[in-house]
């Protein structure tokens, strides 16, 4: 579904991602792990169109998408979340979700003056979907709260919720569990699994929580210093000496 070919990203002399290649199959949840500064988020930014790779090629559903803008990629069903929550802080939680669907008739200036009925009809639909998503995430009680006032974990859930408001095919989750308490974390895992199973979302997941990776992800890709170290199922990656050295650092224990 997604294919990365020899991706390179240079930041004025510093090579954050170095010849990175791997494939993501449809319907999988691919885990992306690695130490801080391994280039995981940079890789995400390139896939999602926030950064243009220095060289290399990204193919999505057989088409070259290298260097496309993030709003163009969104239209193709490639949606991302952020490591640090990027909520719309002065909008309510509900509005945060309702703004997502593409091509809403009410997004045209003229339509709001001249075909208001039509806009309202669409709004009813969008609102129902948003309420459903909030219910699914257990955020109904804060629906009319400004998103800026939500807790860190709730903002993370809200980000996941935004991906539910469109026909996403590939969802990039950047550390969805960071800063989320254990109970909420289990819930988050569950939600991701359901979305994968029932809606057919393909996920790529950056995460440091190994429990979550173990539960959800197959395959797992481990990066270090901008390169892919190894790719495989969780057990293979986990027991790989290189990975232990570079990231997990529990050689004696695991061996």
């Amino acid at each position: 579904m997604l294919e990365l070919d020899q991706l390179v990203m240079d930041f004025s002399g510093f090579r954050a991602v170095n010849r990175c290649s791997f494939k993501v199959g449809e319907g999988t949840i691919t885990g992306l792990i690695g130490p801080n500064g391994a280039g995981k988020t940079t890789l995400f930014n390139m896939i999602a169109g926030a950064l243009v790779p220095t060289s290399g090629k990204i193919t999505f559903e057989g088409k070259d998408i290298t260097g496309l803008s993030s709003n163009a990629l969104f239209a193709r069903g490639l949606v991302r979340t952020f490591q640090i929550p990027h909520e719309f802080h002065r909008l309510t939680a509900m509005e945060n979700l309702m703004m997502v669907p593409p091509r809403q008739p009410g997004e045209k200036l003229w339509a709001n003056w001249f075909s208001w009925r039509n806009v309202c009809r669409d709004e009813v639909e969008v609102e129902r979907n948003a309420l459903e998503a909030l219910d699914f995430l257990g955020l109904t009680h804060v629906a009319h709260e400004r998103a800026g006032n939500l807790s860190g974990g709730q903002k993370k859930l809200l980000e996941l919720g935004r991906t539910m408001m469109t026909d996403a095919k590939l969802v990039l989750l950047d550390e969805p569990a960071a800063g989320v308490n254990r109970t909420l974390l289990r819930k988050l895992e569950e939600k991701i699994a359901i979305l994968n199973r029932e809606r057919g979302y393909t996920f790529i997941l950056i995460e440091h929580d190994m429990e979550m990776i173990e539960k959800l992800c197959d395959p797992v890709v481990c990066m270090a210093e901008g390169k892919v170290l190894i790719e495989g199922d969780f057990q293979t990656v986990r027991s790989d000496p290189q990975v232990l050295e570079a990231y997990l650092g529990e050689r004696s224990e695991a061996a």
């Binding site: 803008s69 993030s70 709003n71 952020f82 002065r90 309510t92 709001n112 969008v126």
Partner: protein, 324 residues
């Protein structure tokens, strides 16, 4: 006859509050909805004022224009011209981060002012354009003022309703989302550059209308009227004091600030002549002080930005209950 004087003064003040309310609403679209720091309001105000002046004034030698058209056409043209000027400016400047946008728009407004000041054939340079038709101008003085006030108030009401509708609509929601977090809005598939341009042009058109009303109320327009102090910064203070992101706040801010601005002039005029001229500057100080106090103690303005869209009190919900 004292009360006639007072009434006249009140009418005069009301008309100016209406004109400034339009400018503040225009700025609210740009800053309150879209987060665009436009510090060149005077430029769009001037384009609107002069466009209408050129189209509606009587023919004159050595000057383009003087088409003697009805004022309604002049006013519509003023909006179109301000929007048309905003388009290339927005295309170039909206790529800048907000603080650079402010500097760029100040520069553009100054360029517009200098062009107007020196362009003899188009704007009659420093002498300006006089003899503009004023709606109800042929009526007796007080009635004419009152009728003009009613007209201005009606225009403000219509513009308010149009802008308010946008604020509550998916368009407004998207604009506020872009304002709050550009990166995330982009990741959610929104075309940030295009939408910003839309808001910039929309706001500029309303500023142009404000300029046209101003010119026709005075029956003339001169480059002196495009002073950035009164045409740009006063409007900013109105919006910030009234509450950016709130259309009613924009109108309230215009009323409060203009009242202070105008009444303080009377107060300084009571002083002996040698102080009266100097005392005018205390008004600037007063306005500045007011702004400081608002920012310190009520930074969201007198009427803060309301929660929108999903609150059960929005236009959309009302419409829905009608349908069901």
């Amino acid at each position: 006859m004292e009360w006639i004087g007072l009434l006249n003064y009140a009418l005069f003040m009301g008309i100016f509050i209406g004109i400034y309310a339009l400018l503040a609403l225009g700025l609210n679209i740009q800053w309150g909805f879209a987060g665009l720091f436009n510090a060149g309001i005077a430029g769009f105000f001037a384009v609107g004022a002069y466009t209408s002046a050129i189209l509606t004034s009587a023919p004159a030698d050595g000057r383009i224009g003087g088409y003697d058209l009805p004022f309604v056409i002049g006013w519509i043209a003023a909006m179109v011209a301000a929007a048309a000027i905003a388009w290339p400016i927005g295309k170039i400047c909206l790529r800048f981060r907000s603080d650079y946008l402010a500097i760029a728009t100040i520069g553009v407004a100054e360029i517009i002012r200098l062009v107007i000041k020196s362009e003899e054939t188009l704007t009659n340079s420093a002498r300006g354009i006089a003899g503009l038709p004023r709606p109800f101008g042929e009526w007796p003085y007080v009635e004419s003022q009152a009728a003009f006030l009613v007209l201005v108030a009606a225009i403000v009401l219509v513009v308010y309703l149009l802008v308010e509708r946008q604020f509550n609509s998916p368009w407004g929601r998207m604009m506020r989302a872009i304002r709050d977090n550009e990166l995330a809005a982009r990741a959610m598939g929104k075309d940030v550059e295009y939408r910003r341009l839309e808001a910039f042009i929309f706001g500029a058109a309303i500023m142009g209308l404000g300029g046209a009303l101003f010119a026709h109320f005075n029956r003339s327009i001169t480059p002196e009227a495009i002073d950035p102090m009164v045409a740009t910064f006063l409007v900013w203070i109105m919006l910030i004091l009234g509450g950016s992101g709130n259309n009613r706040g924009a109108i309230l801010g215009a009323a409060v600030v203009w009242t202070i601005w105008s009444v303080s002039e009377i107060a300084t005029d009571q002083l002996p002549h040698e102080y009266a001229v100097k005392a005018k500057y205390i008004r600037l100080f007063l306005i500045g002080l007011l702004l400081q106090l608002v920012l310190r103690f009520r930074s969201e303005g007198l009427l803060p930005e309301p929660l929108r869209g999903d609150q059960g009190n929005s236009g959309i919900d009302r419409e829905r209950s009608v349908q069901s």
